[in-house]
Symmetry: C2
Subunit: 179 residues, 2 copies
């Protein structure tokens, strides 16, 4: 379970509210870990109880207090411990591959594949734009950015592969479904 650790990584870079974190999980960190605000709030509460983060409370009238979370020393220790531990192989679960394997409705799969392809292209564009903006010269990457850069590279490689797979599928199925 890495949501806690993803939050720690994020807070290690910069303290934040649950709301801020939810937005970060819609962008950079969210490239490789998705999380809803509900889950983030729940997890932050647990992490605070565990002493991994501490909240600075800004009281507000008429509505819930604003809480800005920062990583604690215990949180930093936990992050180090997590880093040293071998990471489990991702469980692969793909509705699409199941569907493809069944191949019950070629026309529907072709349509689905086109949509997926467009989605991969859109993500690839975002990742490449991000890479260009943040790391215009890959040879000049500073040590503190290297992790983020390599993670982004993983995203780029995987979106490209997604596109290639879709193209292969479409190449084999398209003509069949349209004639």
């Amino acid at each position: 379970m890495a949501l806690e650790h993803a939050i720690l990584v994020s807070l290690a870079e910069q303290a934040a509210t649950g709301y801020d974190l939810a937005r970060r999980f819609d962008a950079s960190i969210g490239y490789f870990w998705r999380a809803s605000h509900q889950q983030i709030y729940k997890t932050l509460a647990r992490m605070e109880a565990d002493g991994w983060v501490s909240a600075t409370i800004e009281p507000r009238e008429g509505t819930a207090d604003k809480k800005t979370y920062a990583i604690t020393d215990a949180g930093r220790e936990e992050l180090t411990r997590f880093s040293a531990e071998p990471s489990p192989r991702e469980a692969l679960r793909s509705d699409f591959a199941v569907k493809l394997r069944g191949l019950a409705d070629v026309a529907a799969i072709v349509e689905d594949t086109r949509r997926r392809r467009a989605d991969h292209v859109e993500r690839l564009d975002r990742y490449e734009a991000s890479a260009k903006r943040h790391y215009p010269d890959p040879a000049a990457i500073e040590e503190h950015e290297r992790g983020a850069y390599l993670a982004l590279r993983g995203g780029i490689l995987s979106e490209r592969t997604g596109i290639a797979w879709c193209d292969e599928i479409l190449g084999q199925l398209e003509t069949r479904s349209e004639r």
Copy 2:
């Protein structure tokens, strides 16, 4: 939730016991959907209640009856319905990418990356061996095998990408951690 559908795809090919399914989920179908036997038994019970599968019971003395499941017409209908529905984009969750992004312990990540690379290589070998055995001539693939072939191709492409990513990570981190 595609476990039910993965089971339907599998049963559409061949009737099976829960145990058989668990083994299939360790092999072919398991290339893109993992499931434990506990979960398979639980799901089969629900699917039987829903009328998607029917069980032929072989009573056994002293231990639980053996149940062989077959897909029903309702199950086949459900599979068609599922096939026509757009598939949700896979939620990406990677402990490894979170760790990489944090980059708290370079030596540990290098070690982890080497392990992941070896794992990718092993899987790629299995997939390629399977492709060679089942589809020696890609030009001569029959329509009923095309889905399985394309799913396997997805596995091959993604393992290759995994290896390439690991190589890129190792290329950038290895020298740093060893000197």
